[in-house]
């Protein structure tokens, strides 16, 4: 049997057929049921002409059947492209056109110009496994992330890439068949890879986080308690809410044994609060852009001493090498080499060549991914994240290229000039503030609506400020520093 992601499900279905695989509200699918359902969906996809190497979009709200769809696509030999059901139509169309999907597994609603297979209409019974040919080097999925020019880029992840990550997590966090893992991240976000496949590898149970628990901290606490979640993995902003607003007291959530976070910096103040409320749980910071899934990690073995302590991103995971490329002993760009490093960007050889480099230096042989993240190595060998060398920012764990947002604002016919800056915010890392110079009768609200129709919600600036001109530096570039400063002060209070 090839080393592929869906083999984890098939093995769990053989060894623990009656064990709960996915739990969603009151509904549960056992491993046998999930595997049979995935076989049925794979059969329907093959009947539609899906073949090895094809891409299949999955445009569904999270549910047991959506999980079966991901497996079904892989069983058919194709790569799944998880899509955000909340994304505006033009953004979806851009992604679907870029990766040239064979079809979309959806809810029956039409999706611009693409054949849609209504997942719910696929009969539950299957004629058994489809046995499509597939190799561990084949793509398992493509995850789209914000691109600096206004077009999202697709990160290509092979079965071998994903399995290397899954095997490491199983060992690092001792996931067993008794565990109950939360699934908070949407499937188009790579944190979901841990939830789904670390659970399957151990024949453990993955529990889908219901919508109300993502919105209200008290419901989140109730969910973790009632579902007896043992391993939680999410962006820090959710945990910040849990720490600050869910009124936890020591001894609460006794089942929770591991709290893992990734995607952005966890404000130390809230991490300390959470660690003191949950003294029985272990905490770990996992670091890695989508292109590496996770490449370094740091176990926070005791609560940080004060709020100013910076949590390192730690050391490389198993079989992974990192290099800080800059002047010796100085901060530099983090390069990563290892089995979790992705295959490149779909349909974009130029960007792939720029970021996935071969033999970048005589002492760095082989293939490396340039993260663009500025890091430094501390005396104890742990890496610290310092920032970005470009216009990429994080907000609520989402990675956003400011250029991507600016390109969208520019697309409005009344916009003459624009710049988008990130305003630091303790709870969500950053809020976006757009400055625009307009021609004619255009209001900030018009630009907000224009962006809402074209960008994922988390990329739409919270503030649109119209100004007569953008400040420039001596070299004629937009003075981003001046704008960042201006964005910190409400317009009315500025001199």
């Amino acid at each position: 049997m090839a080393e592929v992601l869906h083999a984890l499900l098939e093995r769990a279905a053989r060894n623990r057929p009656g064990h709960p695989a996915v739990s969603d509200g009151g509904r549960v699918a056992t491993y046998a049921e999930l595997d049979q359902r995935a076989d049925a969906l794979a059969g329907a996809l093959v009947d539609m002409g899906v073949r090895r190497g094809d891409r299949v979009g999955v445009l569904l709200e999270k549910s047991i059947d959506a999980v079966a769809c991901l497996y079904g696509v892989m069983k058919a030999g194709a790569a799944y492209v998880p899509l955000d059901p909340r994304a505006p139509g033009p953004r979806l169309a851009q992604v679907l056109a870029d990766c040239d999907v064979r079809c979309v597994l959806g809810s029956g609603d039409p999706v611009g110009g693409v054949e849609v297979l209504d997942a719910a209409a696929v009969p539950p019974t299957s004629r058994g496994p489809v046995a499509a040919p597939v190799a561990s080097e084949d793509l398992a999925y493509i995850l789209y992330t914000s691109g600096s020019t206004g077009a999202p880029k697709g990160v290509m992840v092979s079965h071998a890439n994903a399995l290397a990550f899954v095997r490491w997590t199983g060992a690092a966090f001792g996931v067993t068949g008794d565990d109950r893992l939360s699934s908070h991240a949407p499937f188009h976000f790579d944190l979901s890879v841990f939830d789904l496949y670390a659970a399957a590898a151990a024949a453990a149970t993955v529990v889908l986080v219901p919508p109300e628990a993502s919105v209200f901290p008290a419901e989140l606490r109730r969910f973790v308690a009632q579902e007896r979640i043992t391993v939680w993995y999410s962006v820090p902003s959710v945990l910040t809410q849990l720490a600050s607003r869910a009124r936890l007291s020591p001894g609460d959530l006794p089942s929770l044994r591991a709290v893992l976070f990734a995607g952005e910096v966890f404000p130390t103040r809230y991490l300390r609060q959470l660690m003191s409320a949950l003294p029985h749980a272990r905490f770990a910071n996992l670091y890695g852009p989508t292109e590496t899934n996770v490449c370094t990690w740091y176990e926070v073995d005791r609560p940080p001493e004060d709020d100013r302590t910076i949590i390192p991103i730690g050391r490389p995971i198993e079989a992974t090498r990192v290099a800080v490329v800059g002047d010796d002993g100085r901060p530099g760009e983090l390069y990563v080499q290892g089995p979790t490093v992705a295959q490149g960007y779909w349909n974009d050889a130029a960007r792939t060549a720029a970021r996935f480099v071969t033999d970048p230096r005589p002492d760095l042989p082989g293939r490396w991914y340039r993260t663009g993240d500025l890091v430094e190595e501390a005396a104890d060998g742990n890496l610290r994240f310092l920032g970005r060398g470009d216009g990429q920012i994080k907000s609520r764990g989402y990675r956003i290229e400011l250029g991507d947002v600016e390109a969208t604002v520019y697309a409005h016919p009344g916009v003459v000039d624009c710049a988008v800056v990130a305003v630091p915010d303790e709870l969500v890392t950053a809020r976006l503030h757009a400055f625009a110079v307009v021609d004619g009768d255009v209001a900030g609200a018009d630009l907000a609506r224009f962006c809402t129709d074209r960008l994922p919600r988390y990329m739409v600036p919270e503030t649109f400020e119209l100004c007569p001109a953008l400040p420039r530096t001596a070299t004629g570039k937009v003075d981003r520093r001046a704008l960042e400063k201006a964005a910190l002060t409400p317009a009315a209070k500025r001199q």
């Binding site: 919508p211 209200f216 419901e219 607003r245 919600r457």
Partner: protein, 82 residues
């Protein structure tokens, strides 16, 4: 316009998960149907505060008060009366 209608119009027009006003009945499950998500709740709270003139405490941003338009309108009316 009633409080419920003002909420209905705002949610329909401004939230990314918004639906046509006619679908957003007083007992439509806003959270379960993902009309209001983790970003939308902040927009909704700031609309209630700035446009409807009712301050919402952190501990009042709970499912019971925001589950439906009916529940939220009742919460707002109670605050106004209180």
């Amino acid at each position: 316009m009633t409080t419920a209608d003002a909420l209905r119009e705002f949610i329909s027009r401004e939230l990314p998960g918004g639906r046509p006003v006619a679908e957003l009945t007083d007992d439509f499950p806003l959270i379960r149907e993902r009309v209001v998500d983790s970003l939308g709740i902040f927009q909704l709270v700031s609309f209630v505060e700035s446009e409807l003139g009712v301050q919402v405490g952190d501990d009042e941003v709970v499912l019971e008060n925001f589950e439906t338009i009916g529940a939220l309108a009742a919460f707002i009316e109670a605050k106004r009366a209180g």
